[in-house]
C-alpha cells in the first residue's frame, strides 16, 4: 500500500463572503473521485481504534474500504447496519474527539476524513433510485413506544423495528427530528436531509405521531395499556439563563427560541412565513458551544453588521466542533474570550442597548478538567448591543418527569437511567439522551439510543427487570 498523503482531501465549500448572506449549506461534499482518494488514505488497521471512538460503533474501516474500491452500494449497506442517521452524523458529530480523534494517522498527520466520507456515502445513497434495505427480524408481536423524535428516539425506533418489534414514535412538535429540526440551522444541516432520514425510518415501518405531548394528552402509564416498553428521549428542554439583571429585556433571546423561530418556523423567510424574529444589527451570543456558533452565524445571515461570541474562557476551551469554529471565524464572527456578562442595560421601552461585562482570567482546572474562569475585579466594561442570544445550555424537559410518579430523577430534574442499559427506576421504562445526561451531542444521544434499544429487546424477550 502506498504511503498516505499527510493532508486530507479538503471539502469544497461556499466562499465565506457569499455564504454569510444565505442559508444554503456551507460545504458541498466530496465528489466520488475525492471520496475514493480520501478513503485510500485509510490504513485499514487490523485493530481499528476509530470504531472504539464512535458511540454507535460504525464499522469505519469496513465502509471506507468499500469506498476506496468504488463499491459505494456495499459501503452504504455497511454504514446503515449500525447507523440509521449517517447523513446527519457526517455533518454534526464532533469527529475530532471521536472517530477521527482516535485515527492512527492522526498521530503524525491529518486523520482520515471519516465524517466527510460518512456524509458522502449517505448523500450518494440518497441519490440512487433505490435505497439500502435493512434486514428485519421476524415480527415479535411486541410494541414499543418512543417519546420524542430526536436523535435518541429515532435511533431507538430504527433499531427496535429492525429487531422485529412494532414501534410508534410520539413527537410534541409538528415536525420530527427534535434538535435536528428546531435547533441546527439549514446551512449546517439542511432540513431536507433530516426529512430524508426520518422517511427512511418510516419506510422500515415505524409509525410517527406528531403534535402529541406525552405527559399531557396521555401519560406514560397510559401508554402501557397499548405498549410493552416505553423509551423516553425528550431531550434538554428548558433553556438556562444566567439570572443577571436585565435578562428579560426585549431583544434578549434564549438560543432555543431564536433557533426555533429561524429553523423550525422559518422566520428567516418572514413575511412569507408568519413567525417573526428580531433582526439585530449588533448581536452578542453568550456561550461557546455548537449552539452558540449556530446562533451567531444565523444572526449574521439575518442581517447583523456585527455578530460576536462572548465566552468566559479562552479559545482553547471552546466546546464547539472544530469545523464550526473555523467556519464562524471565516465568516467574520468576532470572538470575545475571557468575557462574562454582568448585566444588560435597556432603553425606556425595555429594549436591550448595552451589556456590561467583566474580564476573566483562568485559574486552576475545575471538575470538568478545564481551567476555571475567575472574574477580574473592577474590570467592568460595556459593549453596545441591540440583541443578545443566551446559549449556555438547557435543563431536562420537565413534562414527563413531572407527570410520571415513581420515576426517579436527579437533582437537575434529569431522569436517572443506567448508562449500560438505559433502564430507569420503573419497570418497562427506558430513557436516554439529553433527558438523562443534560445538554450533550447528537451522537451521544444516538449512542444512548443504541444501548437502550438492545436492552429493550432483551427485556421484551425475557420480561425480566
Amino acid at each position: 500500500m502506498p504511503k498516505p498523503s499527510p493532508k486530507r482531501i479538503p471539502m469544497r465549500a461556499q466562499k465565506p463572503e457569499k455564504r454569510r448572506y444565505n442559508f444554503d449549506e456551507v460545504p458541498f461534499g466530496y465528489s466520488p473521485e475525492e471520496a475514493m482518494a480520501e478513503a485510500q488514505r485509510c490504513l485499514q488497521c487490523k485493530k481499528p481504534s476509530c470504531i472504539k471512538g464512535c458511540p454507535v460503533e460504525v464499522d469505519i474501516p469496513g465502509f471506507i474500504g468499500k469506498i476506496a474500491e468504488g463499491d459505494f452500494w456495499e459501503a452504504a449497506k455497511i454504514m446503515k447496519r449500525t447507523n440509521v442517521l449517517p447523513a446527519i452524523c457526517g455533518r454534526v458529530c464532533p469527529q475530532e474527539i471521536q472517530c477521527e480523534g482516535s485515527c492512527v494517522l492522526g498521530r503524525k498527520m491529518e486523520p482520515v476524513g471519516i465524517g466527510n466520507l460518512e456524509r458522502f456515502i449517505a448523500d450518494w445513497e440518497a441519490e440512487q433510485a433505490e435505497c439500502v434495505k435493512c434486514e428485519k427480524r421476524p415480527p415479535t408481536g411486541k410494541k414499543v413506544a418512543v417519546v420524542g423524535a430526536g436523535p435518541a428516539g429515532l435511533t431507538v425506533a430504527g433499531d427496535c423495528i429492525k429487531l422485529g418489534h412494532q414501534v410508534t414514535v410520539f413527537e410534541a412538535l409538528h415536525k420530527p427530528g427534535g434538535v435536528l429540526a428546531y435547533g441546527i440551522p439549514e446551512f449546517r444541516l439542511p432540513k431536507a436531509i433530516v426529512q430524508r432520514e426520518v422517511d427512511f425510518i418510516r419506510s422500515m415501518g415505524v409509525k410517527l405521531v406528531t403534535d402529541e405531548v406525552i405527559g399531557k394528552s396521555r401519560s406514560i402509564e397510559e401508554l402501557f395499556g397499548e405498549f410493552d416498553a416505553v423509551f423516553i428521549g425528550t431531550g434538554a428542554g428548558r433553556p438556562w439563563f444566567m439570572g443577571i439583571p436585565g435578562e428579560n429585556s426585549l431583544g434578549v433571546y434564549s438560543a432555543n427560541e431564536y433557533l426555533t423561530r429561524s429553523n423550525l418556523m422559518k422566520a428567516y423567510l418572514f413575511p412569507k412565513y408568519d413567525t417573526p424574529i428580531v433582526k439585530g444589527k449588533h448581536v452578542a451570543v453568550i456561550g461557546g458551544g455548537n449552539v452558540a456558533m449556530d446562533s451567531a452565524r444565523t444572526a449574521l445571515r439575518l442581517g447583523a453588521k456585527e455578530s460576536m461570541i462572548v465566552y468566559r474562557r479562552s479559545r482553547k476551551e471552546l466546546p464547539a466542533r472544530a469545523a464550526e469554529i473555523h467556519h464562524a471565524e471565516e465568516e467574520g464572527i468576532v470572538f470575545n474570550f475571557l468575557t462574562l456578562p454582568k448585566r444588560y442595560v435597556a432603553d425606556k421601552d425595555g429594549w436591550v442597548r448595552e451589556m456590561e461585562c467583566l474580564r476573566m482570567r483562568l485559574g486552576e482546572p475545575d471538575a470538568s478538567g478545564r481551567r476555571r474562569p475567575i472574574p477580574i475585579e473592577g474590570s467592568e466594561f460595556r459593549i453596545p448591543v441591540d440583541m443578545v442570544i443566551v446559549a449556555i445550555g438547557n435543563s431536562p424537559n420537565p413534562l414527563i418527569p413531572g407527570s410520571t410518579p415513581g420515576l426517579e430523577t436527579g437533582k437537575h430534574g434529569n431522569i436517572v437511567a443506567d448508562p449500560k442499559t438505559g433502564r430507569t427506576s420503573k419497570k418497562g421504562i427506558f430513557a436516554g439522551g439529553d433527558i438523562v445526561t443534560g445538554t450533550a451531542t447528537v451522537i451521544l444521544a444516538m449512542g444512548a439510543g443504541r444501548i437502550a434499544a438492545n436492552s429493550i429487546d432483551e427485556y421484551l424477550k425475557t420480561g425480566e427487570w
Binding site: 410534541a172 399531557k216 433553556p239 435578562e247 431583544g251 434564549s254 412569507k272 413567525t275
Partner: protein
C-alpha cells in the same frame, strides 16, 4: 361569532378533550407557513371529543383563523398545555374578566361553583354592544355584575370599580381570579393587595412551542423568572411584574403590522379576482 371580532370554534381533538381541565391551553398552527398560536381552552365535551376555543381577530393569524368555516381543518393542535387552575372550596370567589377573557373564565366559574364556592362574576366591556355570554355566565354564578366603560348597560365604570364595591359592601372575598387584558389584571391585583385577598391571574405572554423548551414566555413573578407555559399560565397576581409583560407583548409590533397589512392586501386582491 360571539361578538364583534370575537369567534368561538369547536375542534375535534379527542385526546385533548379527554384530559383538558379549566385553565389549560392549546397551541395550534393553521397552515404550513403559519405561526404557533396559543389559545385558552374555553370548554370541552369529552364524550364528543370536542374542545372549544375563543379568539379575537386582531392580527394576521387570528384573522386567518377567522376565515375558516365549519368542516375546515387546522393543520396542528397540541395540548392540553399548562397547569390546570386550582379548583377547591375557597368560600367566596370573585371571577373578573374583560373582553375576550369572558369565555375563558366561564369554565373556571363553572368548576368553582361545582366545587361548592359562592361565585361572584364581574364582567367588563367597553359598551353594551360588546357584551358577551351574559346568560351563560349568570348560570354558573351566584351573582353577576356587568360593567360598561360608558354606562350604556349595567354599572358604569371598570371592573375594578365593581370589585371595589363588592369588597367595600362587606362581602368576605376569599379569592379573586382575573382573566383578560394585562392592564385589567394589573389593576385588579393592585386593588386586592392591600386587602390581602389571594388573587390569581392567567398570563398570556408571547409563546412559541408551549412545552417549556424555548423561554419566549418568561415572566417575572416575585423576582424570579418563570415560564408561563409550564410554570403557569396562572400566577399570584400580587407578585407578577405586569409592566414587563406589557413591554414583552410589544416585541413584534412592527412585524405584526407588516404581516397584517400584507394579509389585508392579499385578501383585497383575492376579492377583486373573485369579483
Amino acid at each position: 361569532m360571539l361578538g364583534p371580532g370575537i369567534k368561538r370554534f369547536e375542534l375535534d381533538a379527542r385526546d385533548i378533550a379527554r384530559k383538558a381541565l379549566p385553565g389549560q391551553f392549546v397551541v395550534l398552527r393553521i397552515r404550513e407557513e403559519g405561526e404557533r398560536i396559543p389559545l385558552t381552552i374555553a370548554d370541552t365535551r369529552p364524550d364528543d371529543g370536542v374542545i372549544a376555543i375563543v379568539f379575537q381577530e386582531v392580527g394576521k393569524s387570528t384573522k386567518l383563523l377567522g376565515t375558516l368555516e365549519k368542516g375546515d381543518s387546522i393543520l396542528d393542535v397540541i395540548g392540553p398545555l399548562g397547569n390546570p387552575s386550582e379548583i377547591e372550596k375557597f368560600g367566596t370567589v370573585v371571577c373578573v374578566a374583560g373582553g375576550v377573557g369572558t369565555p375563558e373564565i366561564l369554565p373556571l366559574a363553572r368548576a368553582l361553583t361545582q366545587a361548592g364556592n359562592k361565585v361572584i362574576t364581574i364582567l367588563g366591556f367597553r359598551n353594551k354592544d360588546l357584551i358577551l355570554m351574559e346568560p351563560e355566565m349568570k348560570a354558573v354564578s351566584s351573582e353577576l355584575i356587568v360593567t360598561t366603560d360608558d354606562g350604556s348597560n349595567g354599572t358604569k365604570g371598570f371592573v375594578t370599580d365593581a370589585l371595589k364595591q363588592v369588597i367595600e359592601r362587606g362581602t368576605k372575598v376569599d379569592r379573586v381570579i382575573a382573566v383578560g387584558p394585562v392592564i385589567m389584571m394589573k389593576m385588579v391585583s393592585k386593588l386586592t393587595e392591600p386587602h390581602a385577598i389571594p388573587t390569581i391571574v392567567s398570563l398570556n405572554p408571547i409563546m412559541l412551542d408551549g412545552t417549556g423548551m424555548c423561554g419566549a414566555c418568561r415572566v417575572n413573578v416575585g423576582g424570579e423568572t418563570k415560564l408561563a407555559c409550564v410554570d403557569g399560565p396562572e400566577f399570584d397576581g400580587h407578585k407578577v411584574d405586569f409592566d414587563l409583560l406589557m413591554q414583552r407583548l410589544k416585541i413584534y409590533l412592527p412585524q405584526e403590522k407588516e404581516s397584517l397589512e400584507l394579509f389585508k392586501k392579499t385578501c383585497e386582491h383575492q376579492g377583486e379576482n373573485d369579483a
